[in-house]
Symmetry: C2
Subunit: 219 residues, 2 copies
Amino acid sequence: MKLNVTKSSLYEHVSRIGKALSSPKRLELIELLAQGEKTVETLAQQARMDVRLASAHLKALREARLVESRREGKFIHYSLSGQDVAELWLNVRDVAEAHLLELRLALEQMSAAPDVLSPESRESLLAKARSGDIVVIDVRPEAEYEAGHLPFARSMPLGELEKRLAELPVGKAVVAYCRGPFCVMSDEAVQLLKKRGITAHKITDGVTEWQAGGLPIER
Amino acid sequence: MKLNVTKSSLYEHVSRIGKALSSPKRLELIELLAQGEKTVETLAQQARMDVRLASAHLKALREARLVESRREGKFIHYSLSGQDVAELWLNVRDVAEAHLLELRLALEQMSAAPDVLSPESRESLLAKARSGDIVVIDVRPEAEYEAGHLPFARSMPLGELEKRLAELPVGKAVVAYCRGPFCVMSDEAVQLLKKRGITAHKITDGVTEWQAGGLPIER
DNA sequence: CTAACATTCCAATGTTTGTTAGAGTGTTTC
DNA sequence: GAAACACTCTAACAAACATTGGAATGTTAG
C-alpha cells in the first residue's frame, strides 16, 4: 500500500521530466515518436523490445506528460504531447554530444564510412532540391514520411530501395535522410546506392532537426 | 565485482544526461550553479542538504559532464560546464511547466501574493531602468551578483535589505529579481518593501532567463 | 455470445540509486 | 612537524527501477 505523499517541491516536479529522459529505451521511444504517432506494437518492433516493456516505458512517459495516447479501434496510438518535447530531446542530445567525448567518438565512427554531405546550409540544400538539381529521398518507413517530410523529398523506404531504384532519375545526385544523426538507415541507403554506381550522400538532419531549425515541413 | 561492460548505445550516452536531471536535488544544484561558481559548502548550505550528499550529487553531475570543478587553495569551486547546460535546465523546466499541471498550479499559488510585474517586454524594463524611471535590485547573495547581473541593477541581498532601505531613492518604484521563477527571495523582498510603503514589484526572470533571451549581462 | 487481438496490469526478480555514518585525502596555517 | 579545514571515499541499507512471465482488460469480428 503506497501512500500518495507527493513530496511536491518545484524541483520534484521538474525531475519527473528528467526521470523520463533517464532511460535509453525511453529516449529511443521519444525519437521514434518524434517521427509521427505510432502504436505500441510498432514502437516495440522498431526499438526491438518486448511489447510489455515498451508499454511500461510508455506508461512512464505518459505519466510525465511527455506523450499522449489516442484509441482508435483495437489500436492505441501514441504521440509526443508537443513539439516542445521533440525539441527537448534535441536539446538533451546536443548537450550530450557537446560534453560527452564518448558520444562524439561513437558518432564520428558511425558516419565515417558513408558520405556525409558537408553541412552546407539547409537553405542551399532546399534550393537545389527545388530546382531539381538533386533528388532528396526519405528512407524511413512510409508511415513516417506521411506524417511529415522534407520539402521536395520523395518516399523511398530503405526496405524497398533496391527494388525501386528505377524510379530514380538517372545522372542526378541523390541525398538521403532518415530520423536524424542516431539513425543508420540513410547510411545504409547511401552504401547501397553507391554500390549501384549512383552518386549518393546523406544528411544527418531528420525532420525534427529541420523543423527545429525553423524550416518548413510538408505533409 | 562489477564488470565495466559499457553498454554503449548512442541512447545510453544521452541517458546519462537525463539521469543527471532526474533528481530534484541535482536540479537545485544546477540552478544554484547557474548563478555562478560555488564551493561544495556554499551549495550544501543554500540547498539545505548535507555536505556529503551535495558532494555525492556533484560527483554524479561531474560524471555526466554537466559541471566542472576547479581547485583554489582549500576550496573546490564547481561551475556548470557551459552556458548550454543552463539553457538545458531552462528547457526542461519550461517543458515541465507546459505539461505538468501540478507544477503550474504550484507556481501560480506561490507568486499569487506578491506583485508580479506584468510580463511587459524585457526591453521596456531595460529602458526604464536605464532612464532611472525604476530601481532594479538584485536580492541574491552578493557573490551571485558579482558573477553576473542584470544591467543597471544594484545588489541588495535579501538578508541586508531591511538595514539598507535608506539606500533606495525615495519615491521610485522598485523592481526585484532573484534566481528565477523557482526562487522566493524576490517575493520576500517585495513583501518587505511594501510593508514599508515602497512601491515594489518582482519579475520572475533571473539572470539565466535574461541571458537565454539574448539580453546583455553585466559583470 | 465466443474467438482473436492489442494492450495493460500484477507479481517477482535482480540492479541501481539516494542517503547517512565514519574514515580518509589533500591543503593551508601555525 | 601538527592542527584545522574542505572535501571525497567506502560501506551499508532501504527505496526505486527495469525486466520478464503470466494473467486480465477492452475492442473488433464473427
